[in-house]
């Protein structure tokens, strides 16, 4: 019996889709059978980030409406064994699906796959309600900005109201240098307000933009710091106890040299 995780944030542009793609890929690299569901109907992106856009034949709405079997719509990623994508429809909108249908779909997929990751659209309307309907657990993504934290807080409240208990937090796009200068909220500031468990911190990394544009998840790139952060998050989701990345020390050559000379 698998587990359904919804990746959500409230605010747009904080990295839900990137996070879903990377955690999904990470889990498949560790030998799990994973389905990623894009519930952002009308504004689908997950397929692009995964580089699977050109292989879409059927989508989520086709499955819900019974135009195809679930298996037919699942796109198998050839690079990563055990990774499947159920893309969103692009020519419809959020009202094409209702929460009950999503719940049934999740129940069906749970039978066969270890993890079902749901990429939630921004906002708190129909799309959000659909996305969380079948979820057992939630991962809340935020960035160290007041507006993103505010929206995350709202989302956590809504998750709790919908019986999705104890969501986990990912703080994305952290810039240690700015935090150090006091120009950015620190992880502790964020946890103070949101009061939920932290599952990972992802540093701001230019490589992420390159990798999402190319459709190659950063988690598979051993040189990427953000990729390392996602690999750790993946392991924590599977229950391993891994310490947080020391972002301070892994900033570059100069700081490494400084560290060696204890400057």
């Amino acid at each position: 019996m698998g587990e359904v995780l919804v990746v959500t944030s409230g605010k747009g542009g904080v990295g839900k889709t990137t996070t879903t793609a990377n955690i999904g890929t990470g889990l498949s690299l560790l030998g799990k059978k994973v389905v990623l569901i894009d519930t952002d109907i009308g504004l689908r992106n997950l397929d692009v980030v995964l580089g699977l856009e050109n292989r879409i034949v059927y989508d989520l709405v086709d499955v819900i409406e019974g135009a195809c079997r679930t298996k037919q719509a699942l796109i198998k990623d050839k690079r990563f064994d055990g990774l499947y994508l159920l893309p969103a429809a692009q020519t419809r909108d959020k009202s094409a699906v209702n929460p009950e249908q999503m719940l049934n779909l999740c129940e069906e997929l749970k039978e066969e796959y270890d993890y079902i990751l749901i990429d939630c659209p921004a906002g708190i309307e129909q799309g959000f309600k659909n996305a969380i309907a079948g979820a057992d657990k939630a991962i809340v993504v935020t960035t160290p900005e007041v507006s993103a934290v505010r929206d995350a807080d709202r989302i956590i409240g809504l998750l709790e109201a919908n019986e999705v208990r104890a969501p986990k937090l990912i703080v994305n796009r952290v810039r240690p240098d700015m935090v150090k200068r006091g120009d950015m909220m620190s992880i502790n500031d964020i946890i103070d307000i949101l009061a939920i468990d932290l599952v990972g911190v992802v540093p701001d990394d230019e490589n992420i933009i390159v990798s999402t544009n190319r459709g190659e998840p950063a988690v598979a790139d051993n040189k990427s710091l953000a990729g390392q952060a996602y690999r750790n998050i993946t392991k924590r989701i599977m229950g391993e106890d891994i310490p947080l990345l020391d972002l301070e020390s892994s900033q570059g050559f100069i700081s490494k040299v400084k560290r060696i000379f204890k400057l």
Binding site: R150, D151, D153, R154, I156, G157, L158, E160, D192, I193, A195
Partner: protein, 223 residues
């Protein structure tokens, strides 16, 4: 004592008190009290509008009558004021001008002892906690959350959102929190907001209390 300085009259809309033009106020008050008391349980639990006509009385005297009515009758007084001079037949003449000015005397009186709502956990952005009594939050109140209580508000955590105590006008209501860092504080009809300067980080060991003094909201440590 001359009888009948005051006559009570029931109408479909509520109660009308007719005060005789040449009566003196002390007499009016005592006689009214007597009449209310003699009605026994009649008014208890009822909800009504009250108007008066006849002798002109000042605001202070109006307040005295009103508080006596609230206290002795046991009824919920929805409005109180002078009856409009012209009575438009068929219209709701209970919407008197006196209503607004007397709202302040009609507030919730349970801040010493009254109903209380307990909330366990953090109150997050977007949630509105409303109570007809006092509220105790065991957790934080986050930005974007709103607490509205007719009585006191006690927060066993940090207040970062909007809290409104004594929401129907009771200025004696207080707001207590382990740390007060609200967007806005409201007590009765007084609103204050946080200063624009970035807040000074200070380690406050004891809880803080906001209360009304001379028409301003004051925040102080609990001694």
């Amino acid at each position: 004592m001359e009888l009948n300085s005051v006559t009570l009259k029931g109408t479909p809309n509520g109660l009308v008190i007719i005060i005789r033009e040449d009566s003196n106020f002390a007499e009016v008050l005592s006689e009214l009290e007597e009449k209310i008391l003699s009605a026994g349980q009649f008014f208890r639990g009822a909800s009504m509008n009250v108007l008066y006509r006849g002798k002109f009385i000042n605001k202070n005297q109006e307040n005295q009558i009103l508080s006596m009515l609230i206290e002795k009758s046991g009824a919920q007084i929805k409005s109180f004021g002078r009856e409009p001079e012209k009575m438009d037949v068929g219209t709701d003449n209970m919407k008197t001008t006196g209503y607004k000015t007397h709202m302040n005397s009609l507030f919730f009186k349970g801040i010493e002892e009254g109903p209380c709502k307990f909330i366990r956990g953090t109150v997050r952005s977007g949630s509105l906690i409303k109570s007809d009594g006092n509220v105790v939050i065991i957790g934080d109140v986050n930005p974007g959350a709103e607490i509205k209580a007719l009585g006191n508000i006690i927060v066993m955590g940090v207040v970062r959102g909007i809290v409104h105590a004594g929401a129907d006008g009771n200025k004696a209501a207080v707001i207590v929190a382990m740390k007060l860092k609200p967007v806005q504080l409201r007590i009765a009809d007084i609103i204050t907001r946080a200063p624009d300067e970035p807040d000074i980080e200070y380690e406050e060991k004891s809880a803080e209390m906001a209360y009304v003094k001379d028409g301003y909201i004051i925040i102080d440590k609990i001694h």
